[in-house]
Symmetry: C2
Subunit: 303 residues, 2 copies
């Protein structure tokens, strides 16, 4: 339904937007005007009832009320509605001249830690007991355009344990920085270390996100995944996730983070008594300045 | 910008909506699908950045974190964006056969109390010290169609004191139910009592609503107003606000609740030593069943 095709006051939304004052920044005015317009169009389109609006304001308050330093429910609600994944797509719409793309990005999620330690190639990130499958993960980080290996790239890795919990959600069973670590690529652009084959897990369902998923008759499962953030001097960093191809939740990831080129294989490994599986994952980084999409599309129209 | 006129994944929003399960109610599916579509269209239209999205999730959490039993910041944010006023318009789109309308509705706001006492016609609602102007408020409640007076209608009244605060925001200066009261109309449909000429006041600006108003370079002022909720057996109740016509904030009410027919005059009163001003306010109620707008417009399209 277009903005004008309704039987309500045709000037109301314009009036609300026009109260924005002259000291409001250009970008802020552009973003907030669009937000107000979409909120109003939504309400008119569905003829939102007073009871539904009241429920909505209570729901809004409940999001912050359950949030704290270790729980970001606002982030999670946004994920469940697909917004983080969409913002990620918008941010990483890289296309290089040849039409090739670097490794796809995916959402950061709320479990990245700025404190993960550097480890040596060949180390294991497994510090605490688990019931998972140990995997040798290795690959090469290379330049998207020249295909040359990138040395000294930082490969930042984090994953949940076999019980579906990250270290700081699970202090009784996991030491700090269990299943986290940063690795540097060698002169050939290579990295390798030991981790777990990841396990599918449920989002916490005891708060507003759980209520929303129940209302929508959706499951709360994330497919098994490994989080990665790869960076190198003179390259655009990429934040991504990779998913085992045999996971049953790939199509219905509750936060919509799966992309085809992020689905990988975990295969049986022979001759390494430290691991039963192997995952080969190569990364392609775009050099800085290779983005051919003009930033102007992000500015407000001057029309 | 229509949903398809963008350079992003054309199937993403459809995919998110299609994860809604079969047990989701028809109305819930309709409302939430529209919400997801508008949120996504908004993000694509403004090309929402990761930083803006992060700020948004923090802002979302902050709304609930400042809310408690006496402070409903979610309600307030919704008001500042014009949503409560719009939902009110949607709910009260009454038109009778003659083309006449009952008294316009306006938003309830967060300060109505279910505990306001019944008082007698001729009583005063002023229980605590103030620096305002005492006003004799009176009028007739009548049937929108027959024009006949309605006896035993309940006229529920609440207002802030001359310092801009309601009783439960101001326990040091105001007794419970100061400036609140319910009155019943007599056999001629009349009510009368003493109150204050209302005073303009600022929304609380120490929380997210204040941040939002500052971002938008908007003032936080509500025009002076009196809250009313009028009900009678066999009539549709109306919740409304009335505004003195000399208020400087009528055009820019921070919650957009002013409508032309809700602007009233406070005139000097002679010969009553209890009041210096007079406000005549008549109310017209629509009989139940007089709504000619089919409810079908609120159902999801079957197309």
């Amino acid at each position: 339904m277009a903005a004008q095709e309704h039987r309500f006051d045709p000037n109301f939304t314009k009036h609300v937007i026009e109260t924005i004052g002259p000291a409001c920044g250009e970008r802020e005015r552009f973003v907030m005007s669009a937000l107000i317009r979409h909120v109003h169009d939504f309400a008119r389109e569905v003829e939102l009832t007073v009871d539904e609006w009241t429920l909505g304001t209570k729901f809004l308050n409940s999001i912050g009320q359950i949030s704290d330093a270790k729980r970001n429910e606002g982030h999670r609600i946004s994920d469940v509605l697909g917004l983080e994944s969409l913002v990620d797509e918008i941010a990483h719409k890289h296309v290089n001249e040849s039409g090739e793309s670097p490794t796809s990005s995916s959402i950061l999620g709320p479990f990245w830690s700025p404190n993960a330690p550097f480890r040596e190639n060949g180390d294991s990130v497994i510090m605490s007991p688990h019931s998972g499958h140990v995997t040798l993960m290795h690959g090469v980080v290379s330049d998207m355009e020249t295909k040359a290996p990138i040395k000294n790239a930082v490969f930042d890795f984090w994953q949940a344990s076999s019980n579906g919990k990250y270290d700081f959600q699970d202090p009784d069973n996991q030491v700090d920085n269990n299943l986290r670590g940063k690795f540097r690529t060698n002169d050939k652009g290579e990295y390798h270390f030991y981790c777990l084959k990841p396990t599918a897990y449920s989002l916490p369902t005891d708060g507003p996100a759980g209520m929303l998923l129940k209302l929508l008759d959706r499951h709360p499962m994330r497919p098994a995944h490994i989080h990665l953030m790869i960076s190198a001097d003179d390259y655009k960093p990429v934040t991504t996730q990779i998913f085992p191809k045999d996971d049953p939740y790939l199509e219905t990831d509750t936060v919509f983070a799966v992309k085809d080129d992020l689905v990988v294989d975990f295969t049986p490994l022979k001759g390494d008594d430290k691991a039963e599986l192997e995952c080969v994952y190569n990364v392609s980084l775009a050099p800085k300045g290779s983005d051919k999409i003009p930033d102007a599309t992000r500015l407000p129209s001057k029309a």
